[in-house]
């Protein structure tokens, strides 16, 4: 038995080594680097500088706003589509494939598609709005700070909703049919069945979907990079873009590392409830 256990460790070793080399080393290097000095400051001065950096605070606010809006919309849209796809309809498999298509689009490509669609001169959105006489002339959606954030949120809502939708669909399919039948015999209408059977049974899956989606959206880069590159100004810049710019445009590695560590800490805080719940299930 003891021999077998050690054999298992040998099998795990190559993967562990690769993970440490690819993820562990840069992570540790970044953490060490993040505590370096910035400007005339000493140990940990980068973190102090972050607190007074308006661009960092704006990026943090943008990230929070974006994540709250997108995750909320993902859950609402994902649940609505999951309920439709869970119904007994003809050609269900076809609709499932169609509903999944946005997820197959890489996020940078998704961002570029929306950028073209919202282009003030050649974009389809302006053309349709003009045809429908909703506007008098072209409008630069992505040039307006408010509309730019709204557009990015809508774009990511469309591109990313299939993931929570799949989680919720799996949850819906796991609800025993008899609970619906018992509720129907008890006298529950559609709304009462939804609130008393569907939603309570689905809540663990909603929690998982919210946590995983929130983690994903916190670190979203490609969609915003492709669509607005964080602009206009800093209107759509989130923490990932902030870190990217500090590293690769301004070469402020220590400063970027400290921002990256803050982002990682936030992600970890979001992930802890999920990890705890999965560990509890296993035990």
């Amino acid at each position: 038995m003891i021999g077998e256990r050690w054999t298992a460790y040998w099998f795990v070793l190559p993967g562990t080594f690769l993970l440490l080399a690819i993820l562990g080393f840069p992570a540790i290097a970044s953490i060490v680097d993040s505590f370096g000095s910035v400007g005339s400051g000493g140990f940990g001065s980068a973190y102090l500088a972050l607190l007074s950096d308006q661009r960092f605070l704006t990026a943090s606010f943008n990230t929070a706003l974006f994540v709250v809006c997108v995750v909320t919309l993902h859950i609402i849209l994902g649940l609505a589509v999951a309920l439709l796809l869970n119904a007994d309809i003809p050609f269900k498999w076809f609709f499932r494939v169609v509903a999944l298509l946005p997820w197959t689009v890489p996020d940078v490509i998704g961002g570029l598609i929306f950028r073209f669609m919202l282009d003030p001169l050649s974009g389809g959105v302006n053309a349709i709005a003009f045809r429908l006489q909703l506007m008098q002339g072209p409008y630069d959606w992505l040039g307006d700070p408010g509309w730019a954030m709204f557009s990015v949120i809508m774009a990511e809502t469309w591109r990313g909703y299939p993931y929570p939708m799949l989680i919720l669909l799996a949850g819906l399919q796991a609800i025993p049919k008899e609970q619906y039948e018992a509720a129907a015999i008890d006298g529950a209408g559609r709304w009462a069945i939804f609130t008393n059977v569907t939603l309570p049974n689905l809540m663990p899956m909603v929690l998982i979907a919210v946590v995983l989606d929130a983690i994903w959206q916190c670190r979203l880069f490609g969609m915003i990079f492709g669509m607005t590159n964080g602009g206009p100004g800093d209107a759509t810049q989130n923490l990932s873009l902030f870190v990217y710019r500090q590293y690769f445009q301004f070469f402020e590695t220590t400063y970027a590392a400290s921002a990256a560590v803050v982002l990682a800490a936030v992600l970890l805080a979001v992930a802890i409830p999920y990890i705890r719940s999965t560990l509890r299930e296993k035990s």
């Binding site: 609970q179 018992a182 129907a184 015999i185 008890d186 006298g187 009462a192």
Partner: protein
């Protein structure tokens, strides 16, 4: 007026004919068990009564009202499901109170009705627990409690004991039967377990491939099975069935089985030469060890002790038959013995149609 009347009921799933022309009358306060093998349509029939499956043709009346188009909640029925179908996030109290809350009953009425049902089912201590904190038997009781608070006249049970262990199943059988008597309701109960059916039912409906094979009291079904299916399905161990043909011996009909002359019921009908199946319950296979040449030779191939009885498996003229013996007479594997049958205990079926050839009750 019958509590439940089913007339010429049919159910089609596309080309599959699941329920075929079934007609049954269930009297008020009667405990009727629908029994049959998997896929025979018993659960489908129950679900049609409950309103969970649509009716293709025919009628279902509950308490004198045709309910084909009436939604499940308005049929005045309560149903207990195989896996209990409790709401996992609600407490025992809330599970039982749910239907009353939907009817917007006053809080005092809900409290009183739930506590009354809980007292009947000995659930008072468990009212604040969630279903996951209950044992299988307790969950089963909560499911019944949920049915009781609805104050329905017709109770439907869909294999409610299948998920319980053997000991608890026997206990719950008694409890359900006692509950039925206490509440004075009409019960339709589905099971694939013929022992459950025999021990609980006032009347049993034996189903097979969507048709009713026989309706009768447990005694009628056991003593006078209408056909080969019922004969083999009811009873454990199963009835011994031996294929032969009708012959005449000393002016009286008997069954010729591999040259052995086996007795016929005095009321059996059938022409000499007719292919028939001779049936004898295990307790009606009499095993002797006195070497009487008038009897039929057999060899013991297995002996099983079941407590007060013993099951003896014998090889008789190339066929395997089973005998059940009350006494612990010393028998051993390989021992040569003699078997005999009595005319008033055996059954006779037409092999071609499967129907019983015993024309009058014994």
């Amino acid at each position: 007026m019958s509590a439940v009347t089913i007339r010429d009921l049919n159910k089609h799933y596309s080309s599959y004919h699941a329920i075929r022309n079934i007609s049954i009358d269930i009297e008020p306060r009667e405990f009727v068990v629908l029994v049959g093998p998997s896929g025979c349509g018993k659960s489908t029939l129950l679900r049609m009564i409950a309103g969970l499956e649509s009716v293709t043709s025919g009628d279902i009346d509950i308490l004198g009202r045709t309910v084909n188009q009436v939604p499940a909640k308005d049929r005045n029925i309560a149903m207990v499901f195989q896996n209990y179908a409790l709401y996992p996030h609600k407490t025992v109290f809330e599970n039982m109170a749910f239907s009353l809350r939907l009817k917007k009953q006053p809080r005092e009425v809900i409290d009183q009705r739930v506590r009354e049902a809980a007292a009947i089912l000995d659930l008072e201590r468990l009212l604040e627990r969630k279903p996951s904190q209950l044992s299988g038997g307790q969950r089963q009781r909560v499911a019944m409690g949920r049915a009781i608070v609805r104050d329905s006249k017709v109770f439907l049970f869909d294999e409610p004991l299948s998920n319980l262990d053997a000991k608890l199943r026997v206990q719950m059988r008694t409890e359900i039967r006692a509950l039925h008597q206490r509440l004075g309701c009409t019960t339709v109960y589905v099971t694939h377990d013929q022992i459950e059916a025999m021990t609980m039912a006032d009347r049993i409906v034996v189903m097979n491939t969507g048709v009713v094979e026989q309706v009768g009291t447990p005694e009628e079904l056991y003593d006078r099975p209408a056909n080969l299916f019922v004969a083999s399905f009811i009873g454990s161990p199963s009835m011994n069935l031996l294929e032969g043909e009708i012959a005449i011996e000393e002016g009286a009909p008997c069954v010729d089985f591999q040259g052995h002359r086996l007795p016929c019921a005095p009321t059996a009908t059938g022409q000499p030469g007719t292919k028939v199946t001779f049936g004898a319950r295990p307790e009606h296979v009499h095993v002797h060890t006195d070497g009487d040449p008038e009897r039929h030779n057999a060899t013991i191939t297995m002996v099983e002790l079941t407590g007060p009885d013993r099951i003896v498996v014998l090889e008789f003229a190339g066929e395997t038959i089973v005998a059940e013996m009350e006494k612990r007479t010393p028998l051993s594997v390989g021992q040569r013995v003699e078997v005999s049958f009595q005319a008033d205990e055996v059954h006779l079926f037409d092999t071609a149609t499967g129907n019983s050839l015993v024309s009058a009750p014994r």
